[in-house]
Amino acid sequence: MADELRVPINSDADIVAARQKGRALAEQAGFSGSDLALIATAISELARNIVEFAGQGEVILSPCHQGDRRGIKIVARDEGPGIADVSLALQDGYSTKGGLGLGLPGAKRLMDEFDIQSEVGKGTTVTARKWKH
């Protein structure tokens, strides 16, 4: 809990802040250059979703451990309208779609672990982890 970093998301400017802080944290955890780009992009997409669909929320970044595996944990939380059909939201649009829409399937592809808890009218919490290989 001590290393947890909370980034409030209220506007598009916060998207940049969230991904830059995420990148810094991932760098400390020892991730490679290309992994840093993946993580920063995934955070960008998740934070963007918050702005687009809920207006405001927060991104919580923290290092995580599992045995001697090190990684980064990203939680993107909002109290927005929620997602009615999570499985539909996670459907892959493939590269031809060009990233339109929720960006969730894309973000899911970049992470090792990905979970969405959402309730219509209550909000959404996305929890993702990426491990250093």
Binding site: S34, D68, S95, H133
Partner: protein, 294 residues
């Protein structure tokens, strides 16, 4: 040692601990020398200078006793990590590292038997404190060594993977990547990164990926190829894939992967010719022949 044994369990444990620490500190030189003698006899100190033996054995001995005294193992952990790094670098074997620690444990243990002799309750109490610490330290040392070895192995594997796919610059703006062997997700990713960096370093406008030496291409690998081609395009480079046998091509298309977005040619030479065309060179077979004759 013939003290009245009217003490509670808790005190007994603490008392034992303090006695042990005192015992090991008092017997330091004797036990440390004994330890070195036994390690030498077992051949565990090969390759170490006399000074190293003295310094290291002192540090290890003192760290051991410190853990016994404080119940804290941070110092031992840190030291084990550094020791493992040095050991792996110098090619020391697990037998040497663990053998050395086990010998120390035996030397300590036997000294306790000598110390307590007929005082069985005292010995039992002492062993109770001692064994837990000794075993924990052994585990720490063993794991540090294992971790260090795995880390080194991973780095070596990474280096081998990179070496096994050399990037050749054929001429200005043209690079070739001959890929040999099976491609799994991890390798595909490593290849992509290598290709992209090579495009930047060589300012390549065309890259020929020759997969003649890749025995099997399934839909996963084909998808990786598609992504690689797309990533290269984002960097302004065209990718030509050569060496995709018609059988593999058919299989891949049947599985449902759309290869039409990749330019594929059957053999490397055709790929190079096409690359030259894309780069604006004139390709005349006759001229190439003439150049060779000269």
């Amino acid at each position: 040692m013939a003290k009245a044994r009217v003490r509670s369990e808790k005190l007994s444990h603490e008392q034992s601990r303090r006695e042990l620490v005192r015992h090991f500190r008092d017997a330091r030189e004797k036990l440390r020398r004994q330890w070195i003698t036994e390690m030498t006899a077992k051949g565990l100190l090969a390759g170490l200078t006399e000074q190293e033996v003295q310094t290291e054995s002192s540090t290890i001995y003192d760290t051991f006793v410190s853990c016994l005294e404080t119940g804290q193992f941070d110092a031992a952990q840190a030291y084990a990590g550094r020791m493992a790094q040095r050991a792996v670098l110098r090619g020391m074997t697990p037998e040497q590292i663990l053998g050395g620690m086990l010998t120390l444990r035996d030397v300590y243990g036997r000294s306790l038997f000598e110390q307590y002799r007929a005082d069985v309750p005292g010995l039992t109490s002492a062993l109770g404190v001692y064994e837990a610490v000794a075993n924990k330290i052994l585990a720490i040392v063993a794991m540090a060594f294992v971790d260090e070895r795995e880390k080194t192995l991973r780095q070596q594997q990474e280096a081998i993977r990179e070496l096994s796919t050399p990037v050749l610059q054929l001429r200005e703006g043209l690079i070739i990547l001959p890929i040999i062997g099976l491609i799994d997700t991890q390798r595909a990713r490593q290849l992509t990164e290598q290709l992209l960096r090579a495009i930047r370093a060589n300012r390549a406008r065309v890259a020929v990926l020759d997969i003649t030496g890749v025995p099997a291409v399934d839909s996963k690998v084909a998808n990786h190829l598609l992504q690689t081609v797309e990533a290269a395009r984002l960097m302004g480079a065209r990718v030509i894939v050569t060496g995709l046998s018609s059988e593999i091509a058919q299989t891949v298309v049947t599985i449902g992967v759309d290869l039409s977005r990749i330019m594929t040619l059957s053999d490397l030479q055709s790929g190079i010719d096409e690359a030259d065309r894309l780069l604006g060179y004139k390709v005349t077979r006759g001229a190439a022949e003439q150049a060779k004759v000269q």
